[in-house]
Symmetry: C2
Subunit: 395 residues, 2 copies
Amino acid sequence: MVQKPLHGLKVLDLTRVLAGPYATMILADMGANVIKVEMPGRGDDSRAFGPFLPDGTSAYFASLNRGKKSITLNLKKEKAREIFLELVKTSDVLVENFRPGTMEKLGLGYEKLKEVNPRLIYAASSGFGQTGPYREKPAYDMIVQGMGGIMSITGEPGRPPVRVGVSIGDITAGLFTVIGILTALYQREETGVGQMVDVSMLDCQIAILENAIARYAVNREVPGPLGTRHPSITPFQAYPTQDGYVIVACGNDTLWEKFCRAIKKEELLADERFATNPLRTKNVEILEEILKPVFQEKTTAEWLVILENAGVPAGPINTVDKLFDHPQVLARDMLKEVITPAGDRLVAANNPIKLSYADTNLNPVVPALGEHTREVLESLGFGDKYDDLVAEGVI
Amino acid sequence: MVQKPLHGLKVLDLTRVLAGPYATMILADMGANVIKVEMPGRGDDSRAFGPFLPDGTSAYFASLNRGKKSITLNLKKEKAREIFLELVKTSDVLVENFRPGTMEKLGLGYEKLKEVNPRLIYAASSGFGQTGPYREKPAYDMIVQGMGGIMSITGEPGRPPVRVGVSIGDITAGLFTVIGILTALYQREETGVGQMVDVSMLDCQIAILENAIARYAVNREVPGPLGTRHPSITPFQAYPTQDGYVIVACGNDTLWEKFCRAIKKEELLADERFATNPLRTKNVEILEEILKPVFQEKTTAEWLVILENAGVPAGPINTVDKLFDHPQVLARDMLKEVITPAGDRLVAANNPIKLSYADTNLNPVVPALGEHTREVLESLGFGDKYDDLVAEGVI
């Protein structure tokens, strides 16, 4: 009963670096048979991103490409395209994150591929999408974070902008791409045909802007950065303690009451400036001046005990090392080893989707460049041409 | 041919506020028949979150719950649970984001519901997951952002921590929940039975930490915040200009060369401190001192033209208002109106997944609390009991 939920799903993977590989990583974790097509000799750009493991494998590449197969094909060569089209015939899904137009220039655009395989789901993840005036502009996560608004509401008021510390532009595009692929697979059960999935990093940034759009749409006030504060809930932020910070999240008036009693500031409950959440938000700076000296009296650990005992949502700001021995992270098996071709081991984030009747854990095997080329060629009947294809630079 | 890809999919939606409603919003945009079950008289907590439209509808609620149906059921009442179980019988998917144990206390846990409907996919999105020592702790986005590491790598070095300006803890959990549901639906085609999808906000934060985990796993250096900088690519950050900021993203040595020529600093190409990306990253502070005065010579708009003409990826830092007339956002139809029960209109982010043979645009109709209760009760054969059920506080 416990098997991989997407076992048997064939995915042809032309992706590089992050947004696309993140999408096919999730598909691979779920059991899809992902064949990663890489450029002979060089491979995915991220194979060159440090830091490296002792055997020379990029840690970045390893964590994103576990559980995939790697074949090499130089798609600029006619023979490589012939082999590629054979793979398309038997694939359910193709994923690429080239700049729009790249596949068409190779003669491998969706219009061509659907003639070869009408059931193919062709997913393209790009910076700005397959349409619109920006479609051919170069995009990196950083560009999209700046253009899409998230950087304008992240950081401290009056200070320089900051980037979200992870490549959220790439990662959300990867997640929406997976949703698009699985939705198209659902629809294919009914229609029998595939379709094109077009996901843009910029569009995805708009889609995650949450209440910033609603607030601007209603009151035309341009949202700015608020440090650790929430725009409309108070107190809901980090306070400096004797030795660090503690986050307090009072989402409603009941929690506000518990909070005031827990920190022994019951007098605030009678203060009409703080009687409701909208009032507390309006008077947030006055409240902060009152609370600051209170929090500096104890350590973060002491405050966490006090607030937890009072039933007030609170937490620390963990650095990444803290996650490696965090009891909940360990209990959920969220950090697992992946294994490089030479047997080096690296801790990576596991798949966060837990299914009751299916195995969704990452498959730890990281492929060497072209490790599966011979096997895949043999399955297509090109096995006897392997040496010639190497000599010609096709694989 | 062009229809909603998930049309016919029946989703029973018990979610509140953000992570769960974000997941069912995507399902509704894709055409699923989402029946949102709310508490009589009060409804989803987010109906009380400002700002409000003229008719009193919360803009926050409206943007997340467009295209869903709303029924009221007080699940603490026996008769409400009877009606609920009738709905479970005909549903494909149930989504809830209660604290673990809540549904069991109501006698509506997954073990019970799967007896009623073995094909049901039961998706639970929670702060810490259904297992582990933290399972019953209260969680808000802010707590999870702090605990999961992302806050420790977002912000300026040496300055206080900052929150990612959107509720990325909730939103990524919502996205992974959708992926879990669609994966379980895919597997159900083969097995004929449903299963439980268990997604934790904290797990999802680990899953998006990207190279921060790989870097720590390899070199045991704890990653910290870097302002707008990328940890391993240089130059890849925002520089202050005469009137704002410009983001520059030189992802490889070719772009570095184009960049130096574009800003008329060809001498940097001969400087061995900057000869490779690892060297530029090592000497990033020296490089920044050289580049700072250069960027202050011109405006952001001027730099964008110069860098674009040179083929160097670059971009502005847009505030949210800029998105409302951004040519690419408009071309991609990423901002669309939703319509409240009284006919008020509000701009919201559209679904970013574009499918070639299906309509994935948001359905703009926002439900009033309990607007569809009568219709749904009638479909279940309880229509004649409507007034009694209201009187008893069941609906």
